[in-house]
């Protein structure tokens, strides 16, 4: 009998942690998802060495797509340094020898992100993988998955639109802050993962391939490059993104880099005052560099 010597280091694992059969199945699911934009393709979500809900769906996509010359960026809520992003990045580094990682959006070829799409417009050479907790936008109006599948098949989204109608009735506007239902290629409506409304227009006609992975719910879906993505809305109450205006109507700026065109996070500083800062940390760093170089030039 041919026994393999026991391996103790990370190289004991297959490249990309997943076995090749798992990768093959996931790649096939991805191909199907790309072929039918917005359609939720079921797949056999594997057990990962971390809890479901920590980005296992996105990670399985990333690990199936990754090659040794890939440059990977991992983001959690816009930041490369929060726990989830650091853990996933370390896991990828450990299980994919030779792969390089970066925090720079422009350098990355493969981006795995939780709840944000970078401010930098993505290019045709990039793929972004979004982690998805709840893949089906219809789950809020129809508990039966069987019926939901029929509704998707027939593009029957009237009950979803009624939710928006009721929102306007109650609050005079559509109050959904994230997971905004978006119609892909004039048919399937997707849950674009908990990205803010700010990021939804970036899905439309994107240069980069956008993939969505739900590990717990075992679904993969995609918005291929140059595909129409339309947030659901009424003709007379159109979709709009967050405006970040203060009480006087001025656009708030990032307290760190001064940018007035990015999605801002709000937090309270030690003095108890509200402070705003770019949610996308790489973007903020880049803006800060620009500001510095301008100052140098003008000095």
């Amino acid at each position: 009998m041919n026994t393999l010597p026991p391996k103790t280091d990370a190289s004991a694992y297959n490249f990309g942690f997943l076995d090749e059969y798992a990768k093959k199945e996931i790649r096939r699911a991805i191909l199907k998802a790309v072929a039918i934009p917005g359609y939720q393709v079921p797949y056999a979500s594997r057990e990962m060495p971390m809890g479901r809900g920590f980005g296992t769906g996105g990670l399985q996509l990333t690990l199936s797509l990754i090659g040794p010359d890939e440059v990977v960026k991992v983001i959690d809520q816009g930041s490369d340094d929060s726990v989830n992003a650091v853990n996933l990045r370390q896991f990828i580094e450990m299980t994919c020898p030779g792969v390089s990682t970066t925090t720079r959006t422009v350098e990355a070829t493969l981006i795995q992100s939780r709840h944000r799409i970078p401010e930098h417009t993505l290019s045709a050479a990039q793929i972004i993988v979004l982690q998805v907790p709840y893949p089906d936008p219809l789950v809020v109006v129809e508990p039966s998955e069987d019926k939901r599948k029929t509704m998707h098949g027939e593009a029957d989204y009237s009950r979803l639109l009624v939710k928006l109608y009721e929102d306007i009735v109650k609050f005079d506007e559509i109050t959904l802050s994230h997971r905004y239902p978006t119609r892909i290629n004039d048919h399937y409506v997707i849950d674009p993962s908990p990205i803010p409304r700010w990021d939804v227009p970036k899905i439309n006609n994107s240069e980069a391939l956008i993939l969505f992975g739900a590990g717990r719910e075992k679904k993969i879906y995609a918005v291929p490059p140059h595909t129409k993505a339309e947030p659901l809305a009424f003709t007379d109450v159109p979709f709009r993104v967050e405006h970040f205006h203060d009480a006087t109507g001025n656009r708030r700026t990032c307290s760190r880099c001064g940018c007035d065109g990015s999605f801002l996070d709000e937090f309270t500083n030690d003095a108890g005052a509200k402070v705003y800062q770019c949610s996308d940390s790489d973007w903020c760093d880049e803006m800060l560099l620009q500001v510095k170089s301008w100052r140098e030039v003008s000095a």
Partner: protein, 276 residues
Amino acid sequence: MNKILEVRNLSRIYGKGCALCIESTGPEADTNLCPHCGSVVAVHDVSFDLFEGEILGVMGESGSGKSTVVKNLYFDQAATSGQAIFYDAARQYDLFSLNSAQQRWLRNHRFGMVYQNPHLGLNFNITAGGNIAERLLMSDLMDYGAIRDRAKTLLARTEVLLSRVDDLPKHFSGGMQQRVQIAKALATQPPLLFLDEVTTGLDLSVQARILDLILEIQQELKTAMVVVTHDLGVIRLLTGRAIVMKYGRVIESGLTDQILEDPQHAYTQRLVASVL
């Protein structure tokens, strides 16, 4: 007068059915339960025509299969066999050969249904206005202001207080729930409306006003209706023609006044005699 609906040999059997089902059920057998295989022959060999702007009554007691007939036609349930042709302006649809998307399209655009149980016709978790909006959104009206105006017009027409447009139907009285259901059914101005025991279980005075409303709507919009009821008063008030069902079979059909004054079948005679 043009025909709007033609139903031929409609049958619906619950259960696997057997060769003896038909001969061992029906009014003569005094049951709709097949003693050989245990299947229920809910509807067998029902045929009728409905003309534009006409109200047809389907009467019978519980278990006669009368509700099953309209549920089959409204695609709530699949018919076991038979044919139904819906004539819509220049087009005609063979209802039971349509795919589910086509059936849904007809349901949403060209048919309306008012159920006895408002839970079936209304979503109790969304407002009265939202219920009507849902039907309008199904038919691809995408303008919030227009949807809202139409919902208000419909609710005003069915005498629901406009101040209650944004209330949940679960806080409404039974009669008011039926009014919202009627408004919802009428939202797309369908040429064909199914009414399944719509006044059953309501107070008499409320019943009367709902029936008035239905008649007024019929006169205004010339909507063709199939009215299912066990109540001879409803039949007399609303319908011009009627069919009488027992154990899934049509045992008598004719002009409503003729059925009520000169019933031919022993069962109908008993039914009429028990009321008049």
